[in-house]
């Protein structure tokens, strides 16, 4: 990126873009029932949903890391493939981004539900997936995966692959190259992807309620609690949304700088 001055037109449009993102949040802040906020949030249900949301979103991020980093490596490698399989792979990874999350939840049910293609066997073996916190993690991971894969792909693509060759000449096996060179080099990208993935998982609603259900303490995450509160008490819904917002912004602010390339000593 050039460091030159921004043209006035770009600056004005950028300001409009920023306002477009900020003003709805401002609306949320203005309407928030500030005086009743502590009482609402101290209540058991909100804390319970917050705890569940944080735990499941962390697990989902873990799942995405384990599955998504190798997937991103495959995606980078696919640049050398023929056009059809290459585009197909990218399209498949993009699916959760374009699919309405509720449909994603239905798709998960058709696969892993009690009558699903795989789920029926799991259910027979006593491993029912729907209505469990594990199902929440699966739904969140499904929806958040592309965020991680594309962020890691970007990091992998821009890192200097030749230092991996240098590591090999110094006696590093494939696994050691991955562990000691690839991961540290793309670490900032992976961390940035993980943060995005985590915040997306934290806000996940449609796939979760469809696939996992909504039971306090088990599957009712913050976004679901917020949606249900909307039906009776919009003030409480806004309060819960604020909690989500604060957690997400805090995570983004705390982690982003620390992992940005170049900030490291």
């Amino acid at each position: 990126m050039s460091r030159g001055r921004l043209s006035p037109v770009v600056a004005v449009v950028a300001a409009i873009g920023l306002a477009f993102l900020l003003l709805p949040l401002a609306g949320l802040l203005v309407r928030a029932p500030w005086s009743e906020l502590p009482g609402m949030l101290a209540g058991g249900p909100v804390l319970e949903a917050l705890g569940l949301s944080l735990t499941t979103a962390l697990c989902a991020t873990g799942v995405c890391l384990v599955l998504g980093v190798p997937l991103a490596m495959l995606l980078v490698r696919s640049a050398a493939w023929a056009a059809v399989p290459r585009r197909l792979l990218r399209a498949v990874i993009t699916v959760p981004l374009v699919l309405p999350p509720v449909i994603g939840g239905i798709a998960l049910l058709l696969l892993l539900g009690r009558r699903g293609i795989l789920g029926q066997f799991l259910a027979q073996a006593g491993f029912g997936i729907p209505y469990t916190s594990g199902a929440v993690v699966i739904a969140q991971a499904f929806v958040a995966m592309p965020f991680l894969v594309f962020a890691v792909e970007g990091a992998l693509g821009s890192s200097d692959r030749r230092s991996e060759a240098a590591a090999a000449t110094l006696g590093a096996s494939r696994w050691q190259v991955f562990r000691f060179v690839t991961v540290p080099l793309v670490g900032p990208g992976i961390a940035a992807g993980a943060v995005l993935c985590f915040t997306r998982a934290l806000g996940e609603f449609g796939a979760t309620i469809t696939f996992a259900g909504s039971l306090p303490g088990v599957t009712r995450t913050l976004p679901i609690a917020s949606y249900l509160a909307m039906q009776t008490d919009p003030g409480e819904a806004i309060a819960i949304a604020l909690v989500l917002l604060v957690v997400s912004v805090a995570v983004l602010l705390l982690m982003r700088d620390r992992w940005m390339p170049g900030v490291r000593s």
Binding site: I106, I209, T210, P216, L228, Q231, T232
Partner: protein, 262 residues
């Protein structure tokens, strides 16, 4: 532009018309056309989602009866629609799925003299073939069955809670859904062995599910109020639609869809 509703249906529902015919009712005869110029303009109706099939089936005959009127039907959750009306959404008529929601609109000064036009009652719903062997309300307490109910925050959940309390049953739900259609979806997919939904939802779902009548539910009905939104620019058109819903034609269509007389 009056584009604000969550769900908008301008397509006359042929399926719903078929449903009316199948249910054994002769297709209602439209009232004689009104004199030209008597009624015209757009009438926007905000209606609870459970009224979708019925109102869609009434729309063509209504518009034939009043050729100058363009009926716009917006469906959604009652509370969401009520919130929109209070925020100033340009609705002419509001048909809600419960009285409490209508009351919030009346209290805010946005609706006049609501009238109860129909009612709905809860029924047990099970997947086709009833794999869980559900026979009655008491099965909702069975921990081995997958049970889907509405959350108490939404009308169907409040009704279910009242029904279970009256019957003295402590249900063991596996999920508390955000609306009645979500419960139905879980049952249709076989993810839930039983759920509590409205009778109309069971009728609308067709063969994918089976309904089991709940005698205990007879006393706990959800009454549906309809009202003209205050300050509507098309008061006569709005009034015509309310009258049409309350007419015999409207009642027959409601009964065919599984609604009960209040």
């Amino acid at each position: 532009m009056r584009d604000h509703g969550p769900v908008r249906s301008r397509i006359p529902s042929i399926a719903a018309l078929g449903l009316v015919a199948l249910a054994g009712c002769s297709t209602p005869a439209p009232p004689p056309p009104a004199p030209p110029g008597f009624l015209e303009g757009t009438v926007t109706v905000f209606a609870a989602a459970s009224l979708t099939e019925v109102f869609d089936s009434l729309e063509p005959t209504f518009e034939t009866a009043y050729p100058g009127v363009d009926l716009v039907l917006d469906y959604g959750g009652s509370s969401g629609l009520a919130a929109q009306i209070i925020e100033g959404a340009p609705a002419d008529v509001f048909a809600a799925a419960d009285e409490a929601t209508m009351q919030t609109v009346v209290d805010a000064g946005h609706a006049l003299e609501p009238e109860i036009f129909t009612a709905n009652r809860l029924e047990l719903v099970v997947p086709a073939g009833n794999p869980g062997g559900v026979t009655g309300l008491a099965d909702l307490a069975d921990p081995d069955l997958a049970i889907a109910l509405c959350d108490a925050a939404v009308p169907c959940g409040a009704a279910a809670q009242a029904l279970l309390a009256a019957a003295g049953i402590t249900a063991r739900p596996d999920t508390l859904e955000q609306d009645v259609k979500a419960v139905l979806t879980k049952v249709e997919l076989g993810e839930a062995d039983a759920g509590l939904v409205y009778r109309t939802d069971v009728v609308a779902a067709g063969g994918a599910v089976e309904g089991i009548e709940v005698p205990e539910a007879a006393d706990i009905v959800n009454r549906y109020p309809i009202a003209i939104v205050s300050g509507t620019p098309n008061g006569t058109g709005a009034h015509a639609w309310v009258e049409y819903v309350l007419s015999d034609t409207g009642r027959q269509a409601l009964a065919a869809a599984g609604f009960v007389t209040p």
